[in-house]
Symmetry: C2
């Protein structure tokens, strides 16, 4: 599991570098893709970045057309960040090879086996999310005594 | 799977920041832990870092006692980098919480189910390793036409 973790990090760095993005920028784009449109404050919380850094990050991503800011249709006082990068050809092109290889791997398992694996990955996801929360809380309490 | 990837990256960043390390330094430490003692050249290839950056990285890690350089007992002309950080209390302390939570998750599965999941993770690992290789090869051919 830890070996997979290290490779995942290296893979993400490879994708970021292929797309000409900073690792942290790419990571935020990926969080946006998963969480859907969210506010800058929510993105800041999820990445652990300071508010000022998050603003600069959104500026950079908006400039290259990876995200766009818009008023929240449900609450006009809020501005949300909408991911746009999934439509970009260079992004789908970069992921295509991994996608194909993973589908091929999945096809060697039965439906029941895949259901079990997916279930496990979902739970591992929740465990990791809790751990990230604890880690951030611990390092914040250290910096502000 | 991609959600898990993003969280893994965030978790690793959290660990690195808790330990007061740069993300890239921490990643290299984790690669060393997995691959065992290797030469600076091999580490450079696995991380995709330039030779000079790898030397500076090893200097930093040696200074804080996370790795040490020694002559390869099998080939005196080579210098290998030996990971030392697993013995450090702050490292095992940081991982302890994730370790406990993952063991608890694993205990809810039967031995056969765990064997299947482990098998899948091992294969996903190989797929990712190949993808990293291709990504790096592609971005290198772009920078040196």
């Amino acid at each position: 599991m830890r070996g997979l973790g290290t490779r995942t990090v290296l893979y993400q760095q490879g994708v970021a570098s292929t797309l000409g993005l900073y690792n942290q920028d790419y990571l935020s784009v990926d969080i946006l893709r998963e969480k859907g449109p969210i506010t800058a404050g929510e993105l800041s919380k999820l990445t652990g970045l300071a508010t000022g850094s998050t603003t600069a990050l959104i500026d950079r991503l908006e400039k290259i057309g990876y995200v766009r800011r818009q008023n929240d249709p449900h609450d006009r006082r809020k501005v949300i960040i909408v991911p746009e990068y999934e439509h970009k050809a260079e992004v789908s092109h970069t992921y295509h090879s991994l996608h194909t290889a993973m589908l091929e791997l999945a096809s060697s398992y039965t439906d029941e086996e895949l259901a079990l694996i997916t279930n496990f990955l979902g739970k591992a996801n929740i465990v990791l999310e809790e751990q990230i929360y604890h880690l951030n809380a611990a390092s914040q309490s250290k910096t502000s005594p």
